[in-house]
């Protein structure tokens, strides 16, 4: 039973998470260009504001003042629904991510997480697989064959890679025995004894998950749904103005969520090394109360998690500006004949190691 104060706190957290996701997505568009520029020995945007920091604002103004274009013969309702759906599904999945441990004031315990559900992982997966509908509907409603081709590609690509991704995840679930993201995080570091992050137990699974995450977020080298050399702009060929902006934005929110999920599943979430030692040091040698020391650790953990997320976002961009795009048949072959067998092998391996008592 959820009491009212908890509900209020949850709404606040969700609103904050919502705002933070949007803010991060906004600055991803800036970071993407700066990183791209640096990787190519260039400067990047540096005109709008100091270091070009107002560039996202300038982009938004530009997108809002562009003409709203509806192609002839397009299904108007679906045409509008496409980008909205893409954005909504992208934002929804961040609700269950545990951004930090609890913060305590007196008797009130505040959880730095939108909603704590014991099926958090399933929630993320469910929403992510809904995300493809935004692309599919947009591509279909445009009444343009390039858009449709892009949408079909997006559909088949997401379905193929979701399989391998799910199987990589099963191995994590075998170790943790729970679907709750919070539980999975807490298990990666238990007070008093040293627990490794899941990346140590699941290196192969992590690589599979990472590759699939690239495919699920439609990022290079798997950005075939919007491959401009073949399909003009793929599913968003016909989109203009802020509807186009929503699609581009949704991609960055997806990257943010994928980075958060990977940090939580494989890199310890809000845990950081020696956090308990640090807490005990504050309590024992500085004379702090246990509660405030724990709160400090929670805040540091929150920052640590964002550090991990930013590192992943950087990695996403780094890869984008390094690798060329896959060919469609190569993409399918990689998904079905390499990643899925590897994922199954990983499940068997994990099972064997658990039976042998080597990992738990």
């Amino acid at each position: 039973m959820i009491e009212l104060p908890t509900l209020g706190w949850q709404s606040i957290v969700i609103l904050v998470v919502f705002g933070v996701s949007l803010l991060i997505a906004t600055y991803c568009t800036y970071a993407e260009r700066v990183i791209a520029a640096f990787l190519q020995d260039r400067v990047g945007p540096d005109r709008a504001g100091p270091f070009g920091l107002l560039q996202p604002l300038a982009d938004a103004v530009k997108l809002f003042t562009k003409e709203e274009f509806f192609p002839a013969g397009a299904n108007k309702a679906l045409f509008i629904m496409g980008p909205c759906l893409a954005m909504i599904t992208a934002l929804m999945s961040s609700a269950v991510i545990p951004f930090g441990n609890v913060i305590q004031f007196g008797n009130n315990v505040f959880n730095l997480q939108g909603i704590e559900v014991n099926i958090g992982m399933l929630w993320v997966f469910g929403i992510v697989s809904l995300g493809v509908y935004g692309v599919m509907i947009g591509g279909w409603a445009s009444n343009n064959k390039f858009s449709l081709l892009g949408a079909i590609r997006a559909g088949s690509q997401n379905i193929s890679y979701e399989l391998a991704m799910g199987m990589a995840l099963i191995a994590v679930l075998m170790i943790s025995g729970t679907l709750s993201l919070r539980e999975i995080t807490l298990q990666q570091s238990v007070a008093g004894e040293w627990h490794f992050w899941n990346i140590v137990k699941q290196p192969l699974g992590f690589i599979i998950f990472l590759v699939c995450a690239f495919a699920e977020t439609n990022r290079t080298p798997f950005d075939l749904p919007e491959c401009e050399t073949e399909l003009v702009g793929g599913y968003h060929t016909e989109y203009s103005s802020m509807k186009m902006g929503l699609y581009l934005f949704a991609e960055y929110v997806n990257v943010f969520v994928a980075s958060a999920v990977m940090s939580v599943l494989y890199f310890g979430g809000f845990n950081f090394p020696f956090q308990y030692e640090l807490r005990d040091w504050f309590v024992n040698s500085q004379g702090w109360e246990l509660m405030s020391a724990q709160n400090l650790i929670s805040v540091l953990g929150l920052l640590g998690l964002f550090g991990k997320i930013f590192a992943f976002i950087f990695f996403f961009m780094w890869v984008r500006w390094t690798l060329p795009r896959f060919r469609y048949d190569q993409l399918m072959r990689l998904g079905w004949t390499i990643l899925i067998p590897l994922a199954i092998f990983n499940i068997l391996l994990t099972g064997g190691l658990i039976l042998g008592g080597i990992i738990k």
């Binding site: 640096f38 990787l39 020995d41 260039r42 400067v43 690589i207 780094w318 390094t322």
Partner: protein
């Protein structure tokens, strides 16, 4: 087939090795290369020239914005003969000729002068043929100035106000010898008589 240059290289498609098929080694190699460039750009050298603040050195034979020269004593050299306009492949030059009146000898060097002289910088291809054609050594393309970008088309039509060399006594010289302002004024007065 006979190779013409004897440099043809025979290629054969070898099957990919396991390392190549696993993609990952090649991917890490690529990532390390781009990361090197990232640090190079972040720490020292970017190839970008931040244009308005930072300018590339011009070549000494660069052909930039036109100038209509004055002679040693500050009179306009152009006699509105129209040879530059004829030579211009882009038909960028137009002018209106006028007759010099009495008392204007200190303004115009010849009896005929250009009342108006316009170069359309949007048409001009900066070939320098006008400079070659001019018998009076009046029109030159400056090696250090360009026509800057503007918002309106008519701002690209440069009239005499922007083309004629400004009257600056300190800039006057006879055969490369700099004149003092007094010398220049005296010269101008003598020529006017």
């Amino acid at each position: 087939m006979q190779s013409l240059s004897n440099r043809a290289k025979k290629l054969e498609a070898k099957p990919m090795t396991l390392a190549e098929r696993a993609y990952l080694p090649a991917i890490f190699q690529g990532l390390s290369i781009t990361m090197r460039h990232f640090f190079r750009a972040a720490t020292k050298k970017q190839v970008t020239v931040r244009y308005p603040e930072e300018k590339r050195p011009f070549s000494p034979i660069f052909r930039g914005l036109h100038v209509l020269k004055r002679d040693e004593v500050g009179r306009e050299r152009c006699t509105a003969c129209g040879l530059c306009a004829v030579a211009c492949p882009a038909e960028a030059i137009t002018m209106v000729a006028g007759e010099r009146k009495k008392g204007e000898e200190n303004l115009y060097r010849e009896e005929k002068y250009a009342v108006s002289y316009e170069v359309n910088m949007l048409r001009c291809i900066f070939c320098g043929l006008c400079e070659e054609a001019c018998p009076k050594a009046a029109v030159y393309l400056q090696p250090d100035k360009m026509a800057p970008p503007r918002f309106e088309r008519d701002e690209f039509i440069y009239g005499k106000d922007r083309l004629v060399e400004p009257v600056d006594p300190s800039a006057r010289s006879i055969r490369g010898i700099q004149l003092t302002p007094e010398q220049a004024d005296a010269l101008a007065q003598r020529m006017a008589q």
